[in-house]
């Protein structure tokens, strides 16, 4: 059965196990800048907002890459970067509406969550259950979007606040 990743801001304790786990499985070391998932932490209000690729239907990152380095698996929605073609321009980073893409600190190639090919390593590390890998149902697809909207609304609030 198809599965999806539910990412709940309200259950996030801001511990960053997910980012560390991602950095370990992808790069064999611990570096918060190498996580395909980032936790935006706001210490004064004890908030953690998880940012990562949502495998979204609109996927504007693909169009933003004029070199054609990004491709998308139509079934899973997973975006793949062709490092040979990529010019490290960062257009995809800018285009992502969910702030889910960052450039690798050494190679400058975009890092995009690939759900570990169907067994997300971060979810195993999230004991509070803020990231869970569950069987896909129609209700849960809606739930995923709801949780994402809540995270993005909060993200916008914080950015607005920072500008003032």
């Amino acid at each position: 059965m198809e599965q999806l990743l539910l990412v709940d801001m309200d259950k996030c304790t801001g511990c960053k196990q997910c980012t560390l786990a991602c950095s370990l499985i992808k790069d064999d070391l611990f570096d918060l800048a190498r996580g395909r998932i980032k936790v935006l932490k706001k210490e004064d209000i004890a908030l953690g907002i998880q940012l990562l690729c949502e495998q979204c239907e609109a996927h504007p990152c693909i169009d933003a890459c004029t070199d054609g380095a990004l491709s998308r698996d139509e079934t899973t929605g997973i975006i793949t970067v062709d490092a040979e073609i990529c010019t490290e321009c960062g257009s995809c980073v800018e285009a992502c509406p969910y702030h889910g893409i960052r450039l690798h600190p050494e190679t400058n190639i975009p890092m995009i969550c690939d759900l570990c090919g169907g067994d997300p390593y971060c979810a195993k590390h999230c004991v509070p259950g803020a990231i869970i890998w569950v069987d896909k149902t129609e209700d849960l697809v809606k739930e995923k979007k709801k949780l994402r909207s809540a995270r993005m609304a909060k993200y916008r609030d914080l950015k607005k606040e920072a500008e003032h």
Binding site: T13, K41, K42, E43, D44, I45, A46, V127, A162
Partner: protein, 639 residues
């Protein structure tokens, strides 16, 4: 380098010199990291007993663990070590939060601050950039304002560690805060920073932490994580925070109230973790760096005249020290006092300890309105408690100055037998909120604790046998499950010494001690395997525990240089001489006789001298501490 970053950063605030040194390879085996290497550094720089807490030669060392920055669950903690100002003895305090991991990512395992600045400064670290900066814009600011400014200057991803007005005013109850609501609270380390005129340390780091065998490391870390996931203690900590167990402790008649005059409180619910959830105060469950438990709270008052008041906590100890202790059985009362302490940079345990002593002294007529800034002190009075806290932080008026020096000095100033209701032992640190009269391993652990009597150098929670895992620990130590009861004095020395070693190595690696001595997912065996996987240094469980023993012995020896003897290993007068008010051990004390029996065994186990409590040359040499034996010999302090 694997596991460690391999670097010690030194900053001298007097000469303004900044330099780094490599961690000697053998230290990684002998002292492991964090608290352990801190102990070695403090010994090397400050062993001379003429170096008092306020001497510019005193150093203060900050160190994340050997495994901080990794997926080892709850391994993000930081030890802070210095000559403490409250006791004048060895001080190790430990904090959660996210600052330590950031220091590690900046490339340093230890930050040693030397000297004293002539004007307020802060330290700014960004990887290889290390600067001593003018702190005139920060000095006088509270914790929240300080953090806000540092983040404005260095970004939302920078992490701050700082003191508030209390630390600037050299208040003994001052605490070092980091990540806003976390603190190395105990023993007055913040006053050492205040004396050095060091307001804050802002850190941002981008250097990865590497481990020798990532696959093996992930395997052992997963084992720990899954044990903790299944542990009922860890689950309770997440759901209700540290204060979730208070109702149960109250049922045991072990929840100290009114300056340890009571152990049981009717209608205790408002000052429990459950009340935060039920009253809608709890806004978020929060974790320190890399912690899978997340026991910390973020709470807000939404309604009424105090709407909008928010802070981290309150924790178990705060509901004790600022709730049950001063008789405030009121959730919002504790939230207000807690927020004020967090903002002004006060340790809630000591703040509550000195406040309770003041209330009782006033009630007894030993101090009067003349001494209390005109306050009519009493149990259960919220506004008076808040005014006492504010006076304390700013040393305002006679009351602020009296309490600002801590109970050790205040009881001497006031005299009139006021030491009899000062809940501290001969070392002089205000006790944490534990009823030792009915928990005998705690009693022994508190008595021998080198920094004074509290539960934060050794936690012997297992003696309560409140979970199958706890009972297993007691069986492992004593050979029999039946000793998992706090009322026995049998085998308490063995229980304390095992926990000392385990607690030390947990902190050396960066683990929160809740994972190894309150919940039981992390243990000496998996810690040894994880340390080896991380560093490539072969170390068995026994070798790692021995490293713990070595460090505890350095800490003890440090106090010997400052004149500590067996007489310093005691308990507060009230607990030794006045019986518990109620409960299964009603009337019980921690009598000198009972304590002496446990102490003899404890010193024997350590192979220290019974009469003086001092480590012998033979014991020190067995632990590769010949240099310490030689120095103690010079001072004439070998038995």
């Amino acid at each position: 380098m694997y596991g460690h970053q391999g670097k010690i950063l030194h900053v001298d605030l007097g000469t303004k010199k900044i330099w780094t040194e490599d961690i000697p390879e053998e230290w990684r085996k002998l002292y492991v990291g964090s608290r352990g290497i801190n102990a070695k550094l403090l010994w090397d720089y400050c062993k001379d007993p003429e170096i008092t807490w306020d001497d510019p030669r005193n150093i203060i060392v900050f160190a994340p663990g050997a495994l901080t920055g990794t997926t080892a669950p709850a391994s993000g903690r930081t030890s802070v070590t210095t000559v403490g100002c409250t006791t004048g003895l060895y001080l190790k305090s430990n904090t959660g939060g996210h600052w330590g991991a950031e220091l590690k990512y900046a490339g340093y395992d230890h930050l040693v601050v030397h000297g004293e600045s002539d004007k307020p400064v802060y330290i700014h670290i960004e990887d290889d950039i290390v600067e001593i900066k003018d702190a005139k814009e920060l000095w006088g600011k509270d914790i929240n304002e300080t953090d806000k400014l540092l983040k404005e200057w260095y970004g939302e991803d920078s992490r701050g560690l700082y003191i508030g007005p209390a630390g600037e005013n050299l208040v003994r109850a001052a605490s070092i805060h980091c990540s806003l609501y976390h603190a190395a609270g105990r023993g007055g380390g913040a006053a050492v920073m205040g004396k050095k005129k060091l307001k804050a340390i802002s850190v941002r780091g981008t250097k990865p932490v590497r481990v020798k065998d990532p696959k093996k490391f992930a395997e052992v870390a997963e084992e720990m994580r899954e044990l903790l996931r299944a542990d009922s203690g860890a689950q309770g900590l997440h759901e209700f925070g540290t204060a979730g167990s208070l109702a149960g402790v109250n049922e045991l008649h072990a929840f100290p109230g009114r300056n340890w005059q009571t152990g049981y409180t009717e209608n205790v619910f408002p000052i429990t973790g459950q009340a935060l959830n039920a009253g809608g105060y709890l806004k978020r469950r929060v974790a320190c760096f890399g912690c899978t438990i997340g026991c910390h709270r973020y709470s807000t008052i939404d309604n009424g005249p105090n709407a909008g008041i928010s802070s981290g906590g309150p924790e178990y100890e705060t509901f004790g020290a600022l709730g049950n202790g001063p008789g405030i059985i009121n959730t919002e009362g504790v939230l207000l006092a807690n927020e004020m302490c967090n903002r002004l940079g006060l340790d809630t345990i000591t703040a509550g300890g000195v406040a309770q002593w003041a209330i009782e002294s006033y009630e007894r007529g030993v101090i009067t309105k003349e001494d209390t800034n005109g306050l009519d002190l009493g149990w259960g009075k919220i506004p008076e408690l808040l005014q006492t806290i504010e006076a304390l932080a700013y040393r305002r008026g006679k009351l602020g100055d009296l309490l600002g020096d801590g109970l050790k000095i205040a009881t001497k100033k006031v005299g009139k037998d006021s030491y009899k209701w000062a809940i501290m032992n001969a070392k002089g640190l205000e006790q944490s909120n534990v009823e030792t009269r009915s928990a005998k391993a705690y009693a022994l652990a508190f008595a021998v604790n080198p920094r004074g009597n509290d539960h934060l150098m050794t936690e012997t929670f297992a003696e309560f046998g409140s979970s199958p895992e706890a009972i297993d620990v007691i069986e492992k130590i004593t050979g029999d499950k039946k000793w998992a009861s706090p009322h026995f004095t049998n085998f308490r020395a063995e229980i304390v010494r095992w926990h000392e070693d385990c607690y030390e190595i947990s902190e050396a690696l960066g683990f929160c001690v809740f994972t190894s001595t309150a919940a039981y997912g992390v243990n000496p065996d998996n810690m040894a395997r994880l340390y080896t996987a991380a560093t490539g240094i072969e170390m068995t469980e026994d070798e790692l525990m021995l490293a713990g023993r070595r460090v505890c012995t350095i800490e003890k020896a440090f106090n010997v240089t400052r004149g500590a003897t067996r007489a310093h290993d005691n308990l507060p007068w009230r607990l030794m001489n006045e019986g518990a008010a109620s409960g299964p051990l009603k009337g019980a004390t921690n009598s000198q006789e009972e304590l002496d029996g446990m102490l003899d065994k404890y010193y024997d186990l350590h192979e220290w001298d019974r009469e003086t409590s001092w480590p012998t040359r033979e014991t020190l040499e067995k632990l590769d501490l010949k240099y310490i034996a030689d120095y103690l010999d010079e001072l004439g302090k070998l038995p």
